[in-house]
C-alpha cells in the first residue's frame, strides 16, 4: 500500500494500523521542491492498554523516523534501512515547513 501527503507543520495522517496489525514501512520517499530545506518526522500515534503499571493510559506520540532534505533534493529510504521500524497505531508526518512543494510518500504493509 502507498500513502501520500504534503509537508505541513501540523501532523498529517498517512496510515492507521488495524487493531490486530502493525504497520511495517517498506519505502519512504521525500521530494523537496521547496526553496529551503525541510525536516520530515514520522510519528507513531496510539493509545496503550491498561496495564499493571499504567491504570489510565493516555495517547502516545512517538517520533520514529526523521530526515532533513535539502532544497531541490529527494530522499529515498529503501526497505532494508526500515526493517526495524514499525508503527503500532497511526503514522503521521509532521514538518518544519508547510508547503505543497514537499511531498512525503510511504509504502507499507500490514503485519
Amino acid at each position: 500500500m502507498l500513502s501520500f501527503v504534503t509537508a505541513s507543520t501540523s501532523a498529517q495522517d498517512l496510515a492507521t494500523a488495524p487493531k490486530h496489525h502493525t504497520i511495517k514501512p517498506s519505502s519512504i520517499n521525500i521530494n523537496n521542491e521547496y526553496s529551503a530545506k525541510a525536516k520530515i518526522t514520522l510519528q507513531d500515534v496510539f493509545s496503550a492498554d491498561t496495564t499493571n503499571g499504567v491504570s489510565s493510559p493516555t495517547q502516545n506520540t512517538i517520533n520514529k523516523f526523521a530526515v532533513v532534505v535539502g532544497a531541490g533534493l529527494t530522499a529515498d529510504i529503501p526497505e532494508d534501512e526500515l526493517k526495524d521500524v514499525k508503527f503500532l497505531g497511526k503514522i503521521q508526518a509532521v514538518s518544519d515547513v508547510t508547503s505543497s512543494s514537499v511531498t512525503v510518500m510511504v509504502g507499507y504493509h500490514l503485519v
Binding site: K19, H20, D49, G53, N63, L88, G89, V111
Partner: protein, 218 residues
C-alpha cells in the same frame, strides 16, 4: 487441559495428520478423575467428538509499555474475553498463536496459580524477577500466529485461564518503548457424547485432559 507441540518438531521430518493438531469428529477425549465435582459431567469420563467441530477465529491485542504487563482473562467472567463454552458436553480447544514481537507470555489458571514451574520450590514464573520472568514463559516463536503449536482446553465454568503478556525492555527498535502483543486464536468447538462403557482401546487411546493440579508438584 494444555498441550503444546515443540517448535523443534518443525525441524524434523514427520507426517502429521489433521487429528494430531485439532480434535476431529470421532476423536476420543477423556477427562481425568481429578477434575473436581464442579465438573462432574466430565470428571473421569470418556467422550467422543460427535460432530465435525467448528473452527472459530478470534484475535486479542494489547499495546503495552516496556517492562510492564497486563492480564487477559479468557473465561466468561464480566472482565473476561468470554471464550468458554456455556453448556456442559461442549469442549473448546483453543489454539493460541502469537504475532512476532518483543514480548513473552505467562500462563495462569487462574491468576496467580501458575502451571509452568519446576520442582525446586523457588522455581516458579514471576514477571517481577529478572530471571524468573523467563521461566515457563512462551514466546511468539513458540507458537506462531500462522501455525499455532500451543493448545488450551476450556469447558463450562472452568477456572479462568489468564494470559499475562510481558513486554521486554529494549527491543529490536531503539525508539520503541511499547509493543503490540497480538494473539491469533482458533477455537475448535467440539460437541461431546459420553461413551458409557468405553473399551480398553478407547481408554488407552483417548486424548487425556488432566486437571490443573495434576500438572503441578513435580
Amino acid at each position: 487441559m494444555i498441550y503444546e507441540i515443540s517448535p523443534l518438531l518443525a525441524k524434523t521430518a514427520i507426517s502429521v495428520k489433521p487429528e494430531d493438531i485439532l480434535l476431529q469428529k470421532g476423536a476420543w477425549v477423556k477427562f481425568s478423575s481429578a477434575w473436581p465435582g464442579t465438573h462432574k459431567w466430565a470428571s473421569g469420563k470418556l467422550f467422543v467428538v460427535s460432530a465435525e467441530p467448528i473452527l472459530v477465529p478470534y484475535a486479542i491485542s494489547r499495546i503495552i509499555p516496556e517492562d510492564d504487563y497486563c492480564d487477559i482473562d479468557l473465561s466468561n467472567s464480566d472482565s473476561g474475553e468470554k471464550l468458554y463454552p456455556e453448556n456442559e458436553g461442549v469442549l473448546y480447544q483453543i489454539a493460541v498463536g502469537m504475532k512476532p514481537g518483543d514480548y513473552l507470555v505467562h500462563f495462569y489458571l487462574p491468576s496467580p496459580r501458575y502451571i509452568y514451574h519446576l520442582g525446586e520450590a523457588s522455581m516458579f514464573p514471576d514477571v517481577a524477577s529478572s530471571t524468573l520472568r523467563y521461566l515457563g514463559a512462551k514466546r511468539p516463536e513458540d507458537s506462531p500466529a500462522d501455525a499455532p503449536l500451543w493448545f488450551l482446553f476450556a469447558i463450562k465454568d472452568m477456572p479462568p485461564i489468564t494470559l499475562r503478556p510481558y513486554v521486554e525492555t529494549g527491543g529490536d527498535d531503539a525508539t520503541q518503548a511499547f509493543e503490540k502483543c497480538t494473539f491469533m486464536l482458533k477455537i475448535n468447538k467440539c460437541l461431546l457424547d459420553e461413551v458409557k462403557n468405553p473399551s480398553k482401546e478407547q481408554i488407552e487411546r483417548a486424548f487425556l485432559i488432566r486437571w490443573r493440579d495434576e500438572l503441578l508438584g513435580y
